[in-house]
């Protein structure tokens, strides 16, 4: 059965605004399940899901695992550091082996851009991209959209600035596509050495000064600064990065309005974001984490062929 999303969720770029809205709307009833004392519904009973993580991940892997377990799926976690090349077995062999075990879905995190699509083209199971290289991280983009929509009750016309290392960020790409499709205005802000040269061709505004971004934005999505970028020579020092691009309460205080703060985590406190901002009243960083489970439940449900209008009923048993 073909789902409303197709076989796989690989990226937000190819999705329509209707499909994105469908996922966000489907996530709403799933939020409530996680608030119950018995956090489990039988929706995916009998389904087998493999969480295939070629890159270290704590938050995303646990979030997917909770989403799967709360939907009663049987799950297996496969963690492997390094690329398939250093591991010895090729990704295509991994794919064939999974297929041979007759699994229903694969959640893949991989260091190579395109790895999720590579897998999806070679197996019949549904594939969910949990982050591929510097390409996309669609469920992160979706949970960011849900968090913004929770707060502002709209996405259309919202001004969102993505701050930091856009060049290497899959979160940035998924956010850019997702936000633009939903009618938001998108900007990026960071050192030019960490922005793709062709960034403006993606239809976003570029700010070189974080102060200007803060003046403009309704919300900032502050990206994690990968510490290896400094060794890679993209920026001279973390200290200077914080001085020039850090999201600080002093800078936010000069904004004409309250600016909502998102961060995909894990945070480098004192580098891209100061602690009093991360822990402050306008931070929705933990709401993002909560929404992550609901978004992933919605994606699992929809890809498994679940009908959107039945999501409410799929909660089962009438809730409280």
């Amino acid at each position: 059965m073909t789902s409303a999303l197709g076989k796989d969720l690989l990226a937000l770029e190819p999705l329509s605004s209707e499909q994105i809205r469908l996922i966000l709307d489907t996530a709403e009833p799933f939020k409530e399940i996680s608030e119950r004392s018995i956090k489990k519904v039988p929706t995916l009973r009998g389904s087998t899901i493999v969480n295939l993580f070629f890159e270290a991940s704590t938050r995303t892997r646990i979030s997917f695992e909770f989403a799967e377990k709360r939907l009663s799926a049987d799950t297996v976690n496969v963690a492997s550091s390094g690329s398939s090349v250093s591991k010895g077995e090729t990704l295509v062999d991994t794919a064939r082996n999974l297929e041979a075990m007759r699994i229903d879905m694969v959640v893949i995190r991989h260091g190579a851009s395109g790895a999720a699509q590579f897998l999806a083209e070679r197996i019949e199971s549904n594939v969910i991209n949990a982050g591929d290289g510097t390409h996309e991280h669609p469920t992160q983009g979706l949970l960011d959209l849900l968090t913004l929509r929770d707060h502002f009750h709209r996405l259309d016309g919202l001004k969102v600035c993505i701050c930091g290392d856009v060049l290497h960020s899959r979160v940035a790409r998924s956010n850019i596509w997702g936000l633009k499709k939903m009618g938001a205005e998108v900007a990026v802000c960071g050192p030019r050495s960490l922005l793709p040269n062709a960034i403006d061709e993606l239809g976003v505004t570029v700010f070189s000064r974080i102060e200007d971004a803060i003046q403009w934005a309704d919300a900032l999505n502050v990206l994690r600064l990968q510490l290896e970028r400094m060794q890679g020579g993209y920026i001279p020092s973390l200290r200077e990065y914080n001085r020039v691009f850090g999201v600080t309460s002093e800078r936010l205080a000069r904004a004409p309005k309250d600016v909502l703060i998102l961060h995909p985590g894990p945070m480098n406190r004192g580098v891209e974001i100061d602690s009093d901002v991360a822990d402050g009243p306008h931070s929705v960083i933990l709401n993002q984490v909560t929404n992550g489970v609901a978004i992933r439940m919605a994606v699992l449900y929809l890809l498994s062929g679940g009908r959107p209008e039945l999501a409410e009923a799929a909660k089962g048993g009438g809730g409280r």
Binding site: A112, Q117, F118, R170, N197, I199
Partner: protein, 437 residues
């Protein structure tokens, strides 16, 4: 003048369109080949030879008869990677593609950086019986970019040029010395222009596609910086710099600048850079991964124009076979390169000739006459007395590319499944038919 080989059969190609830019020839007529050399061309009427075997008469009406194509840039992988390609399979693939001679790049294992290695390639090619194979020796020992290889001995053994292809010569001083030293022997220095620091880790063209796909890009400037360095070093030394597989509009402008000043620079372009753009990478198709990468439509247009106006002298394949396993992986980890010998003519015809950018004589100039002239090779002409290296092709016939049918061991082609125009009917080397469709 090529010595006659009277054991070679006599062939009369009857009624084809003879196109030979080396002598300004484009007319319907016959080509008589005897003793491995071109004996005569024109309207030959009835050919009768007293006391000798009568020539085999081949009707080539509706087909083009041209000097055999010469590829100055291919990778035959032997020695070292015989599971991917051998001199035998590569030179036979060349014959199928209408090439009568190819130049083999030295990035073999071990590297072709000495006279014994050059001699090995020549012996293997003689055994193979396909297209002629001319070795290109390495510029530096082991292609390490440190010390010059023995150009003199390699040339003595049969090398026709030097190159560290695939391993750009980073040191300007080494390139300077190579150009000076190569001048002694009258051979070109062929360079793969790439600034290794700018291109480091890149998997495709840098631009909006690389930004979308999250792949590390290689900017056009990585090529152009080295192209202008090489052109300036050719000016300094008077040596002949041959710039391999040019891929950008900027490179074309730099070559034009150099040629206008009389600098001894020549350049080649590959069929894929004349036909495809970075859009082919969409979906992370590793058969669209090569170095230099596929660029933009503006680059393709500039390269086509450069082929037309002579800024680019030669079309070469950069035939680079890989095992299918090697390409069946994550894009960033897949090796660079595609096979090209068996599709080059059809790609050039489809995009350049049928595309309306150039005519058949100019295509033959770029694929046969110019390569022979620049690399000082026999062939590239149908003049009486020259070696009978001849290609007969149908410029209009359509066919669908099926890599499973390639004679090359490589299957890595971005043209798989595409319908192209132009088929090779016959390839003759020294009067001997090495391919007949």
């Amino acid at each position: 003048m090529t010595p006659r080989n009277d054991a070679a059969p006599s062939i009369l190609l009857r009624g084809g369109r003879l196109i030979d830019p080396s002598q300004g020839l484009d007319e319907t007529g016959d080509l008589l080949i005897t003793g491995g050399v071109v004996e005569a061309h024109g309207r030959l009427g009835e050919v009768r030879r007293d006391g000798a075997a009568q020539p085999e008469i081949v009707d080539v009406r509706g087909r083009v008869v041209s000097p055999g194509f010469i590829d100055v840039h291919c990778h035959l992988r032997e020695p070292g990677r015989e599971e991917v390609e051998t001199i035998a399979t590569g030179s036979r693939a060349a014959a199928v593609g209408g090439f009568t001679a190819v130049c083999a790049m030295p990035n073999t294992d071990p590297v072709t950086d000495n006279q014994a290695a050059v001699g090995f390639i020549i012996r293997q090619a003689q055994r193979a019986g396909g297209a002629k194979v001319y070795p290109i020796g390495a510029i530096s020992m082991g292609q390490q970019g440190q010390t010059l290889a023995e150009f003199g001995e390699m040339v003595g053994a049969g090398a026709v040029a030097v190159s560290d292809d695939g391993r750009p010569v980073a040191s300007a001083q080494l390139m300077r010395t190579a150009l000076e030293y190569a001048r002694t022997f009258g051979i070109p220095v062929a360079d793969h222009c790439e600034d290794p620091t700018l291109a480091l880790g890149g998997a495709m063209n840098e631009g909006v596609m690389s930004a979308r796909l999250g792949l590390r890009g290689i900017p056009a400037e990585a090529e152009e910086i080295m192209a202008i360095r090489d052109i300036l070093l050719a000016r300094l030394t008077g040596g002949h710099i041959h710039l391999c597989h040019m891929s950008t509009k900027g490179s074309v402008e730099l070559i034009r600048w150099g040629k206008e000043r009389g600098i001894n620079v020549t350049a080649e372009v590959c069929p894929h850079h004349l036909s495809l753009t970075e859009a082919a990478v969409e979906g992370y198709d590793t058969n669209a991964k090569m170095n230099p990468p596929l660029r933009t439509a503006a680059d393709v247009a500039a390269l086509q124009e450069a082929v037309k106006d002579g800024t680019i002298d030669v079309i070469a394949t950069d035939h680079a076979p890989h095992h299918y396993d090697e390409k069946e992986r994550e894009f960033a980890d897949a090796p660079n390169g595609i096979v090209g010998l068996e599709t080059a003519l059809a790609v050039n015809l489809t995009w350049l000739v049928h595309g309306g950018s150039i005519g058949l004589p100019l295509l033959i100039e770029r694929m046969s006459c110019a390569p022979a002239r620049l690399f000082h090779l026999p062939g590239g002409t149908l003049r009486a007395g020259s070696p009978a290296d001849v290609t007969v092709f149908d410029p209009d016939a359509s066919w669908t590319v099926d890599p499973a049918k390639f004679r090359s061991k490589g299957r890595n082609s971005p043209y798989a499944g595409q319908t192209l125009r132009g088929t090779v009917a016959m390839t003759l080397v020294d009067g001997r038919v090495i391919h007949r469709a």
